[in-house]
C-alpha cells in the first residue's frame, strides 16, 4: 500500500493545457476523489498516474519511487475503466484470472485466488458464464475483482458509476466504499458527481480547467470552500453568491448587497480576516440549506420567483438584488411565487470571497495539501 505524490505535473496536448501545475499528495490507504466538471483534467491526472500518458513536465511518485519512465505493466496499479473494459470474448473466470495468467502464476494458485475473490465479490455463480451479456452490477464487481486479484498497491477508478442507472448507484456507492475499507487500497476515484465524491471519499480534490482548486475532507470542502468555483460546485444546489461591498456600520463590518439591503454583522473571525485582507468588493455567500425566513424588517430583501416541491423538501428560487439564489426549506415554508420575502442566512453560514480573485477570505486553513 502506497502513497502517491504529484510533483509539479503539467500536461499539454499540442497547445491545449490539460493540466497546469498539479501538486498533490494522496495518503496511503486513503480514498481520494478527483472531482470536477468535464474537461477539468481529472481523467488526465489519472491516466498519468497509471502511466497511460506521460506528463509534459513534473513527476509522479509512488511512495518515494519516481515513476517517470516506468511503463504501464510495471506500475502495479489497478484500473477500473468507465465502461469496465471487460474482455467480452472471455468468461468471468478468465477475466478474473487474466492478470495472474499473464504473469505466469501457476494454475493451482490462480484457481485459488479466483475462487477467493469470486466469493468475496459474490461472483461465484457467474464464474463460467460468458461475460458479454451480464448486468452492469456484475460487470462492475468483475472489473474490480479483475484488478484486485493482482493485489495492486494503488487502485484507480475512472467514473465507474456513470453508466449505472440512478437506482443502483446508491447501492454500488456503499459497496465500493465497503470494498475499499476491506482491501485497504489507496484509491483514487474520478467523478463529476459531487454527491458521489462527498459520500465516498476520505478527501476530495476539486479541479477545474486543469487547476487544483481545493483539497480537503468532504466537510472541509463543503463548509469552507477555498474559492467561488468550489463554493458553487459543491452542494446541491451549490452555494448562493451575491455580489456585495463590505461596509462599516457602528464599528461592525457588514455587507452591502445593494437592493437587497445590508446584511447582519459578520461573525468576528470573518470580519477580522476581511479587515486584515483589506477586502472591499466581495461575493457574499451562503448555502441554500442555511437560509431561514426572517421576521419583520430583518434580513435581506428578496423576491420569490419559483417554488419547487421535490418531495421531502421544498426548493425556493429567489431573486436577491438581481442575482438568482436558492433556498432549501421544509415543506411547510410559507413562501409564494411572486411575493416578497426577507431572508436571513444562519450566523455562521456566511462566507466571503474576493470579487477579483474568487478566493475565500478567512475561514479555516485550507491548504492545497
Amino acid at each position: 500500500m502506497t502513497s502517491i505524490r504529484l510533483d509539479h505535473l503539467t500536461k499539454k496536448f499540442g497547445s491545449f493545457a490539460a493540466l497546469k501545475t498539479m501538486d498533490m499528495e494522496i495518503r496511503d490507504g486513503e480514498f481520494m476523489a478527483l472531482l470536477g466538471p468535464s474537461g477539468c483534467g481529472k481523467s488526465t491526472t489519472m491516466n498519468i498516474i497509471a502511466g497511460m500518458e506521460g506528463p509534459s513536465t513534473g513527476r509522479v511518485l509512488f511512495g518515494d519511487r519516481d515513476m517517470s519512465g516506468v511503463p504501464m505493466p510495471k506500475r502495479g496499479v489497478g484500473f477500473v475503466f468507465q465502461n469496465y473494459a471487460i474482455f467480452t470474448h472471455m468468461n468471468v473466470r478468465q477475466n478474473l484470472a487474466y492478470g495472474l495468467k499473464v504473469r505466469g502464476t501457476p494454475q493451482p494458485e490462480i484457481n485459488r485466488r479466483v475462487t477467493t475473490i469470486a466469493e468475496f465479490l459474490q461472483l461465484t455463480q457467474f464464474l463460467d458464464q460468458p461475460s458479454a451479456k451480464l448486468s452492469v452490477n456484475i460487470l462492475q464487481r468483475l472489473a474490480i475483482g479483475r484488478s484486485a486479484i493482482v493485489e495492486p498497491a494503488i487502485f484507480l477508478l475512472d467514473e465507474p458509476l456513470s453508466n449505472v442507472d440512478a437506482a443502483f448507484r446508491a447501492v454500488m456507492r456503499t459497496e465500493l466504499k465497503h470494498l475499499q475499507r476491506q482491501f485497504k487500497q489507496t484509491m483514487v476515484y474520478v467523478t463529476h458527481d459531487q454527491l458521489e465524491a462527498m459520500t465516498m471519499a476520505d478527501r476530495i480534490a476539486v479541479m477545474d480547467h486543469g487547476v487544483l482548486q481545493q483539497v480537503g475532507t468532504p466537510l472541509e470542502v463543503y463548509n469552507n470552500p477555498a474559492n467561488v468555483f468550489v463554493a458553487r460546485f459543491i452542494g446541491s444546489p451549490g452555494m448562493n453568491l451575491v455580489p456585495a461591498t463590505l461596509v462599516e456600520r457602528d464599528g461592525q463590518l457588514r455587507a452591502d448587497l445593494g437592493a437587497a439591503g445590508i446584511s447582519a454583522p459578520l461573525a468576528p473571525e470573518l470580519a477580522a480576516a476581511a479587515r486584515t485582507a483589506g477586502a472591499g468588493e466581495v461575493w457574499y455567500g451562503f448555502r441554500p440549506e442555511e437560509l431561514s425566513v426572517a421576521s419583520g424588517d430583518a434580513g435581506l430583501a428578496a423576491g420569490v420567483t419559483f417554488v419547487e416541491r421535490i418531495g421531502s423538501r421544498t426548493v425556493v428560487h429567489f431573486d436577491i438584488a438581481g442575482e438568482p439564489a436558492k433556498g432549501v426549506f421544509e415543506n411547510d415554508v410559507a413562501l409564494q411565487e411572486g411575493s416578497a420575502a426577507r431572508l436571513a442566512p444562519g450566523p455562521d453560514a456566511v462566507r466571503l470571497f474576493d470579487r477579483q480573485s474568487g478566493n475565500a477570505i478567512g475561514g479555516s486553513t485550507h491548504g492545497l495539501h
Binding site: M52, M72, F87, H89, Y98, R103, R146, V150
Partner: protein
C-alpha cells in the same frame, strides 16, 4: 352509430401493403431476371453438353449435340486425365503458398499501421495501389520484371556482385515462383486492408486494461486481438482463397500456363481446352464437376456457420 360501410376504411390499409409488395417485386425483378438468365440456362446447357462429345468443330449446332452422345465418358476421362490432376495440383499449390503468405504479410503490415504515426495516411494509400492495378497489366508488369535481361536480375546482380541472368519464365519451378510472387504482390494489400479494419476494431480500452494487468505485446496480441478478429480473419481468408482459386489474368499473361504446363492452373487448362482444343462437351463436364464440388463446400460452410452462430453467447 351511422352505418358507414366497412370497406371504405379497410381499403386504404390493404392497398398500402399491396403497393409495398408490388414495388418490392418490381424493384427486385431486373436482378432476378439477370441472375436467372446467367444461372439457369447455362447450367442446363452444360448438363446436356457434358454428356456428349460435342465440339463447335463438328459443324452441328449445340442443340443437336445428342448425335454425339457418349453418356458419362467425359467424366470418366476427366478422372483419368493427368493434365487435369496436374492443373488441380498446381492450383492447390498456388493457393497453399499465396493465401497464407498474403495473410501473414498483410497482418504484419496491419500491425504496423494500427497506431497513428507520421505519414500514415499517405503510406497507406500507396501500399494499397497494387490491388487496384488491372490484373492483366500487372501480368505484363511482372512479365517485364522477370525477363532474363530485366530489372529483377539487375537488382540481384547488384546485390550479389555476380552477373545474374536467371531465365525465370523459362524454368518450370522458377516460373511457378514468379507467378506466386506476382499474386502475392498484387493481393497482400487486400489482406492488409481487411485485417487493419479488424485490428482497429479491437476496443482500445480492453488493450489498455490488459496492459495495466501486466500483459506484454505478444500476450495482448494472442489473448485479445486475435480472438476478437476471428470472424474477420475467416472472411479475409475465405474471400482470398476463392479468388485465388480462380487465378487467371496475371498468370496467363506472364507465362501462358508454361513453360509447357508448368504453371497451368485449372482456369488456364479450361481456357486452353475451350479455345485450342475446342472439346466443349468435355469442358462442360469439368465445369459441372467444379460447380458441384464448390456448392457442396459452400453448403458445408454455411451449415457450420449457422451452427456456430446458434451457440454463440
Amino acid at each position: 352509430m351511422t352505418a358507414v360501410p366497412m370497406t371504405d376504411t379497410a381499403a386504404p390499409a390493404r392497398t398500402e401493403a399491396q403497393e409495398e409488395k408490388r414495388l418490392g417485386l418490381f424493384l427486385t425483378l431486373p436482378a432476378q431476371l439477370l441472375v436467372l438468365f446467367i444461372a439457369v440456362f447455362p447450367l442446363l446447357m452444360q448438363l446436356y453438353i457434358s454428356l456428349t462429345d460435342w465440339s463447335p468443330l463438328e459443324g452441328i449446332p449445340w442443340w443437336q449435340a445428342y448425335e454425339l452422345w457418349n453418356d458419362f465418358y467425359n467424366y470418366i476421362d476427366l478422372a483419368e486425365d493427368p493434365r487435369w490432376w496436374g492443373a488441380l495440383w498446381r492450383t492447390a499449390l498456388v493457393m497453399a503458398v499465396c493465401v497464407p503468405a498474403e495473410f501473414l504479410l498483410g497482418l504484419g503490415l496491419a500491425i504496423l499501421f494500427v497506431d497513428n504515426f507520421r505519414g500514415r495516411r499517405v503510406f497507406y494509400s500507396i501500399l494499397l495501389m497494387p490491388m487496384m492495378v488491372v490484373p492483366a497489366v500487372a501480368g505484363y508488369m511482372f512479365f517485364m520484371l522477370f525477363q532474363s535481361g530485366g530489372p529483377l536480375n539487375d537488382i540481384l546482380s547488384t546485390l550479389s556482385g555476380q552477373n545474374v541472368a536467371i531465365a525465370w519464365l523459362s524454368s518450370p519451378d522458377l516460373a511457378m515462383f514468379a507467378v506466386m510472387v506476382a499474386d502475392i504482390w498484387q493481393w497482400t494489400p487486400l489482406m492488409f486492408l481487411i485485417l487493419l479494419a479488424g485490428l482497429v476494431g479491437v476496443p482500445e480500452d480492453q488493450l489498455k486494461a490488459a496492459t495495466l494487468l501486466g500483459a506484454n505485446w505478444w500476450q495482448r496480441f494472442t489473448t485479445i486481438m486475435l480472438p476478437r478478429m476471428k470472424t474477420i480473419i475467416i472472411i479475409a481468408l475465405a474471400i482470398r482463397a476463392i479468388e485465388n482459386f480462380k487465378i487467371f489474368d496475371t498468370l496467363y499473361i506472364m507465362t501462358g500456363g508454361g513453360p509447357g504446363v508448368a504453371t497451368e492452373t485449372i482456369s488456364v487448362y479450361i481456357y486452353k481446352l475451350t479455345t485450342n482444343d475446342l472439346t466443349w462437351g468435355y469442358v462442360a463436364a469439368i465445369a459441372l464437376v467444379i460447380l458441384i464440388s464448390l456448392s457442396v463446400v459452400l453448403g458445408i460452410a454455411i451449415a457450420r456457420m449457422g451452427r456456430s452462430r446458434a451457440t454463440q453467447p
